[in-house]
Amino acid sequence: MYATTLAGTRHTFPDLKSVLAAATPLRSGDVLAGISASSMAQRVAARYVLADLPLTTFLSEAVIPYEADEVTRLIVDTHDAGAFARVSHMTVGQLREWLLTDDADASALAQLSPGLTPEMVAAVCKLMRNQDLIAVARKRQVVTAFRNTIGLKGRLSVRIQPNHPTDDPTGIAASILDGLLNGCGDAVIGINPASDSVETQILLLRLIDDLRERYAIPTQSCVLAHLTNTIAAIEQQAPVDLVFQSIAGTEAANRGFGIDLAMLREGRDAGLSLARHTVGANVMYFETGQGSALSAGAHHGVDQQTLETRAYAVARAFEPLLVNSVVGFIGPEYLYDGKQIARAALEDHFCGKLLGLPMGVDVCYTNHAEADQDDMDSILTLLGAAGVNFVMGVPGADDVMLNYQSTSYHDALYVRDVLGLHPAPEFEDWLMSLGILDAAGRIQDPRLTAGASERLLSYGGVGK
């Protein structure tokens, strides 16, 4: 039992997960789960309790029992006590203060990552204001590579997301070309297929691979199908670069996605076996999102932000190239409005980075959420300041297959410009070689760079 008395009122919490849930900034998903704080004062009381908790508490009390959940077992069994030693004497509140100091620089944070459990990171996150989340995350560089290098300081990569309601190859190619002409595509060219057939997946993989080979584009491709489909595609010699899977922070929620840790291991091995990477061997692409465990009825009474951070513990076991929190996609029953989506986006980015993950964010919302493109502009700008590794590039911000709104190619150009950020170095060189960027790195009007655009647009006759 945990308790504190504030202003004459005694607040009690039966266990660690109740403290964590009550301390979480208000969001609809925790209210839906019935675990949110009962008042604003109780929320702050939970933060007082959390601030004084020794970090070692998280090594002795699991929010989901070790015996019941393989994600807990992964967290406990891979915890690096040596790395933890640097902060093992601290409380959660002291960890927050230390993270904000200059002592916690890039190298100190990198050394600390394997010593932190996701629950410690979620806990300190709940004590932090948005500016704290930005200030600390921007110090933690996480660099990964496949055919280019993502996450370097001063760089922001963009996924081209060229979805089409019927997977029409010409339509998808058109969206890809538009993205390339706008300087996007260095994180990945990643298609969410409308069909769940392996044949369609292979067709689309060949489409991107052909385009990439023809123009020697230093980037990687992905068709975001279920892991088992991608393994089947690999068995059929399809040109698979990245192995994709949605993951969550509990064993039961992962079962709802049709996967477990052993299958993820198998998928990564299959991806590595193709040896298609040139610069680095990060072959996995994961997507996550607060609320996925509750949505699957697999949350164990744990708040959605803590569970999301546990999903990052799953991700880090597989050395991914990209981890993408699809923060506003799941809907208003989990994150109600622009304020809740913004907070969650900064939390997810901070927690993932602190655990050593190459975090990107799908800055997005659905039409039944209280949010609009102005909210997305704010979130994108905050994440750019926080050093996010990558964001989405969707033509005109309107995903015509998944029916939600994300960030656009234009948005990527905007945030790179106002924050002085560049594409991945290999990709930036390629953009300059085609004249899409000028020597100073400025994006060119495709109407003025006929050479580059004509070359790209002659691709496969789609421009004819």
Partner: protein, 250 residues
């Protein structure tokens, strides 16, 4: 609006690709921003979608459209739109008062018309779709049509169980996208009871005559699903929908 006098003639290199996708490609740029026309077109589409989510449902319009049929108007436990959007659990349960009014009557199937996330979809498409379906399922004993306010798909499980039917079909407004604020979906569930999973349902989506699935083919698929479900005594992933195959050959 985007072209100033200094710029060369606007030859959009993506112009030729536009017809290949409904995606917003080749919008052009002003600096790094959107041309004003594209900016406003996006805002209009979003506004229409938002208005669709919040437009008040008028069950009387559906009742009037089905004046030759027995109808009942019920409500879920979600009292208003804001609650509905944040508490899906409440949208899946009938109020106690309405629940007490629904009793078995030897029916085989029930139709539930629910507002879901788009009242305009229900206002426009529910009645014509039902008429097209009724013309095809004359051999079914159908319960009074239930018209549900602030309803989710799974509200049909609660209703179907109380009516004692073997099958429930829920006609519901889908979450509006920017391309269409008024798509209707139909979810068919065999042996409805609370706790059914989405994998135990079959769905027909994007029903709207302008740009989506029109009433006759939607009704044909729905009637096919109902008869196949009755024959195989199940719905969901194990009931493979082959009704589209003959449609393609027609």
């Amino acid at each position: 609006m985007s072209d100033s006098a200094e710029q060369p003639p606007a030859v959009d290199p993506l112009q030729r690709l536009r017809s290949a996708t409904p995606a917003r490609i080749g919008l052009g740029r002003c600096g790094h921003g959107l041309p004003t026309r594209a900016l406003l077109e996006f805002q209009l589409a979003h506004a229409r979608a938002r208005d669709a989510v919040h437009e008040a449902f008028d069950p009387g319009r559906v009742v009037a459209g089905l004046s030759d049929r027995e109808t009942r108007v019920v409500s879920s436990c979600a009292p208003d739109r804001q609650t509905y959007l944040q508490r899906p659990d409440l949208g899946r349960r009938l109020t106690d008062i309405d629940a007490a009014l629904l009793t078995p009557g030897g029916y085989e199937a029930a139709f539930v018309v629910a507002d879901g996330l788009s009242s305009p979809a229900v206002h426009a498409h529910a009645v014509p779709l039902l008429r097209a379906v009724f013309a095809r399922i004359g051999d079914w004993r159908v319960a009074p049509i239930i018209i549900a306010c602030q309803g989710r798909v799974a509200l049909g499980d609660d209703i179907g169980e109380r009516l004692g039917v073997g099958l429930v079909a829920v006609l519901i407004g889908e979450r509006p996208g920017l391309s269409a604020p008024d798509s209707l979906g139909v979810y068919v569930t065999w042996n409805p009871q609370p706790g059914r999973q989405d994998s135990e349902r079959n769905c027909i989506s994007n029903i709207r005559p302008a740009g989506g699935l029109s009433y006759e083919p939607a009704a044909r698929r729905l009637a096919w699903l109902m008869n196949a479900a009755r024959h195989q005594r199940l719905t969901g992933v194990r009931l493979k929908d082959t009704s589209a195959l003959p449609t393609l050959r027609e």
